[in-house]
């Protein structure tokens, strides 16, 4: 009996070890095979693979292509431009990390050595420089007959930089410089051979800073923050529905309101390269608003939160595409650069956020000098940070209505003559387990009665939050916590099934004069 058991044990051990050895052999062969198949493939050896993602997109405008050497081909010009911008990109990264990674690809050896000497110096001194260029205006001086050498002058290169030493910010500055650049075509890369800073040519002063003849007076704004009841925070996705929006706008008009504020999400809308279909949706929304004689305050960069200097050119391309496309639209009220950026101060650093906002404001005004720019600060306390960037101050108020006038007064004192808009305020009628059934539609109505009274008396322009209850709140808005999500659903004056809440009466401006 026992010997039979032993036999079986030996048998199973034999079978198991056989299987185990086989598995190991197969595993060994397959990993050797995988190793031999990894590494450089032909496309990477020959540099023919396409770029997966553009990561550095300052504005580039070629001014002059005529040159005594030979006419340049569009394709070559594009390659030169790409490699030139990448040379800036790798240099920006190298200066911030003091690691010359990638420099060799976009600079010839002699140029690379000189840059490395600067990096060595900075490493010794524990200096790091974060910089990005924002605009380039190259014009071609010479392109050689065999197509392997090019000289151009890059004028008015706008650079923003921060100089850090021992983790401490010494200086941040924005300046413009001009360079003569000589590039050589070496094994498929255009590389910088020489780069000499030259005298900044006097710029034809085209500062189109005509003061904002804002056709629409800020003080007359009466309106709301708009999302359709279904598809809040996802307005330009597949749920985009012209009919729903048209009906909503008609209702807003009958309420006697004249403005709405909408949000353009940064990533979902297409980041640095916005597809035309998304722009068309936004344009359609403005068209519909125009038919109802509503003005639209477009809030850019919703759900954006990086502000890193390396990200500046990408965000500016995003904003530039939208602003240039819509700046002549009759329904456009103005540009809200960012919704509640002060909430990112803790995670991203106040200086970093403010620097981004300041530069973004300048760029938006450059692209569209005739519409006002604002920033939707989350509280009256933060709203005076705007400085000279904004044409009118916009703040949000979700605190106790009793303190409203005091805080408004204090803000008014700080900002002086700049017009002020109450960009968001509201009250959730949610009543449920998460707030111990303490909320109610009556409370909401009381809130609005009080607030509207103040706003009316003081003549403060307002955009309330919001008209419709929402059936769904994405996690990205207030997080996953149910007590936040539930509350967020009931800020509307109209329920999801279309019933007017008591607060509707206070928000309806048509009955009032």
């Amino acid at each position: 009996m026992k010997s039979k058991w032993n036999k079986n044990i030996y048998r199973s051990l034999l079978i198991l070890s056989f299987l185990g050895i086989n598995a190991m052999i197969i595993y060994g062969i397959s990993s050797a095979w995988a190793y031999l198949n990894s590494g450089a493939d032909k496309s990477s050896i020959l540099h023919i693979q396409g770029d997966i993602e553009e990561n550095y997109l300052p504005e580039v405008q070629w001014e002059e292509l005529e040159n005594p050497g030979r006419p340049i081909e569009a394709q070559t010009l594009k390659e030169i431009q790409n490699d030139y911008l990448r040379s800036w990109y790798v240099r920006n990264i190298a200066l911030s990390t003091n690691d010359p990674y990638g420099i060799a690809d976009y600079c010839t050896d002699s140029m690379r050595i000189k840059i490395e000497r600067v990096l060595d110096l900075n490493k010794q001194q524990n200096t790091s420089v974060k910089q990005t260029t924002l605009a380039h205006h190259p014009s071609l001086d010479f392109y050689s007959a065999d197509g392997s050498l090019v000289v151009f002058t890059d004028r008015h290169v706008e650079t923003y930089k921060e100089i850090w030493q021992n983790e401490q910010l010494l200086l941040k500055k924005k300046d413009t410089s001009s360079y003569k650049v000589l590039m050589l075509l070496e094994d498929g890369f255009w590389r910088i051979r020489h780069m000499v800073e030259i005298e900044e040519p006097t710029k034809k002063d085209s500062t189109t800073s005509k003061k904002n003849s804002s056709q629409f007076e800020i003080s007359k704004i009466k309106g709301l923050n708009y999302y359709p009841g279904k598809g809040a925070w996802d307005m330009f996705g597949i749920k985009f529905n012209k009919e729903v929006i048209a009906n909503n706008f008609a209702q807003i008009r009958t309420m006697g309101l004249n403005s709405i504020r909408v949000f353009v999400p940064y990533e979902a809308f297409g980041k640095a390269s916005i597809p035309e279909e998304n722009l068309a949706k936004l344009r359609a929304l403005l068209d519909l608003a125009h038919t109802e004689r509503l003005k639209v305050l477009v809030t850019l960069f919703d759900f954006y939160g990086d502000y890193d200097i390396m990200d500046w050119t990408l965000t500016q391309r995003h904003a530039g595409t939208i602003v240039k496309a819509l700046k002549d639209h009759p329904a456009l009220l103005g540009w809200d650069l960012k919704n509640e950026p002060d909430l990112d101060f803790d995670s991203r650093g106040k200086e970093r956020v403010l620097a981004w906002l300041k530069e973004m404001g300048k760029q938006v005004k450059k692209w569209d000098p005739s519409h006002p720019v604002t920033i939707g600060w989350s509280s009256p306390e933060a709203a005076s940070l705007s400085g000279e960037v904004v044409d009118f101050v916009s703040f949000h108020y979700y605190q106790d209505p009793n303190d409203f006038l005091t805080k408004y007064g204090a803000l008014k004192g700080r900002v002086g003559d700049t017009p002020i808009l109450l960009g968001e305020y509201g009250y959730s009628s949610y009543s449920g387990i998460w707030n111990a059934f303490l909320g109610s539609e009556r409370n909401q109505a009381d809130y609005y009665r009080e607030m509207q009274q103040y706003l009316n008396d003081e003549g403060i322009p307002f955009l309330f939050w919001t008209l419709y209850d929402f059936d769904e709140i994405p996690n990205s808005v207030v997080g996953r916590l149910p007590w936040r999500k539930q509350r967020q659903k009931y800020f509307g004056a109209i329920t999801t099934d279309g019933r007017e809440k008591p607060s509707y009466r206070h928000l309806d401006q048509s009955s009032k004069k």
Partner: protein, 405 residues
């Protein structure tokens, strides 16, 4: 309130207009802030400083940005620029700061040295055609000993030598380079190029001037005899092919010879040129023929067509039949000198019945002046047949009666 604000601004403006500038609680008066320098110079920037506090000098040029610390001696603070910045031509900006705000700033224009030490040359394309339109371009980048492009207007002499002729061209630098188009001449050969600036020379560079495109040429043919024996080889040869300027075209140029026979069928052979001459060969036809031959250099030149006549090589042949008539021996096939025709000539036997319906065609090649046909019983039963035997266009007819065995 407003008036006092204006007053403050006025005070500030006064403060800016006059030194000392205020860096928070430190006041600074510049002692030495150069505006220009030559690359490689020792550049020092000095300030008189009253008060305590860390001061940094931020330096910027086209390579990057750095921060340096100065040496403080009593009230004077001196900064010595590192070579990363002093050796680099172009503008070098400096900013004095205490880490809170910018106080003083300036720009030094560093010019490259007058004397170029190195010269990079880029010459291309390296091979061009003889004539008056094609050219190579020479680009010079003269640099000083710190690898800065020399200042605009530096003279660079470009010299070239073609055959026995020497030429020199004077150029000056502009946009970091000096350059020149070097046109080809009508004679093919090599162009040797070099450039020189005071203080630096380049090595010798070479451009090959290749002959231009071929012009029309003549076609000749050579053969041992004029008979279509299907055995000898005819040789086609071009005259020396030259371009319009009289240069013999490059070796290896492909010449296509095209033959059209009297039925309009085209034959083709090819040859590449050596010393301008291309040679190609073709087997003689085995029938009487009249060839029209032309030669081409595709896309650029051709010869006049020549006509070549081939006479029939076979004069006569005999037929012998075996006893049962089923083996036919053709031959001896005699050629133009009554010699046995060389092996390989095609012999065709056409067999028809009495109603002139074609039954079979058999082909054979001659060996030692003879060939043999077998008419098997399986195929040809006892009957009367008409035979037609053709060699090199000569046909003999014969009637043949076959019996059962």
């Amino acid at each position: 309130m407003k008036i006092s604000a204006y007053f403050m601004v006025f005070l500030l403006a006064l403060g800016c207009a006059k030194t000392p500038a205020v860096v928070s609680d430190v006041s600074v008066i510049p002692i030495q802030t150069p505006l220009t320098a030559s690359a490689g110079d020792v550049i020092s920037i000095g300030f008189e400083v009253n008060g305590e506090g860390d001061l940094y000098l931020i330096l910027e040029n086209s390579l990057g940005t750095s921060v340096i610390r100065g040496d403080r001696e009593k009230d004077e603070l001196w900064f010595t620029l590192p070579t990363q910045f002093t050796q680099r031509a172009g503008f070098c900006s400096w900013i004095l700061t205490n880490g809170k705000k910018e106080s003083l700033s300036g720009k030094i224009e560093i010019s490259s040295l007058e004397r170029p030490v190195h010269m990079e040359t880029y010459l291309g394309p390296r091979s061009i055609y003889a004539g008056t339109t094609d050219y190579a371009m020479l680009v010079n980048i003269p640099t000083d000993k710190f690898d800065n492009p020399v200042r605009e207007g530096t003279a660079v002499t470009i010299k070239r030598q073609i055959l026995t002729e020497n030429e020199a061209f004077e150029t000056t630098t502009k946009d970091l380079i000096s350059w020149k188009r070097l046109f080809a001449v009508k004679k093919s050969g090599r162009m040797l190029v070099t450039s020189r600036a005071p203080g630096s020379s380049t090595k010798e560079l070479t451009v090959d001037i290749y002959p231009s495109q071929a012009s029309n040429f003549e076609l000749l043919s050579k053969r041992n005899h004029e008979y279509a024996d299907g055995n000898q080889i005819i040789v086609f040869e071009t005259s020396v092919i030259k371009d319009v300027y009289g240069n013999t075209i490059s070796d290896g140029t492909l010449v296509t010879f095209q033959i059209t026979n009297k039925h309009g069928v085209k034959l083709r052979t090819e040859g590449t040129t050596i010393n301008g001459v291309s040679v190609a060969q073709m087997l003689h036809p085995d029938n009487e023929e009249n060839w029209t031959v032309e030669a081409y250099v595709t896309g650029s030149a051709k010869s006049e067509a020549i006509s070549i006549e081939f006479k029939p090589a076979i004069k006569d042949f005999d037929l012998q039949f075996s006893e049962d008539g089923r083996t036919i021996l053709v031959g001896p096939i005699l050629s133009f000198m009554d010699q046995l025709n060389p092996d390989g000539i095609a012999v065709e036997l056409k067999i028809s019945n009495e109603k002139d319906e074609e039954l079979a065609v058999k082909r054979n090649a001659s060996v030692n002046g003879f060939t043999e046909f077998e008419l098997s019983e399986e195929q040809f039963s006892a009957d009367v047949y008409q035979l037609e035997i053709t060699i090199a266009g000569i046909t003999k007819k014969q009637s043949l009666e076959l019996y059962e065995k």
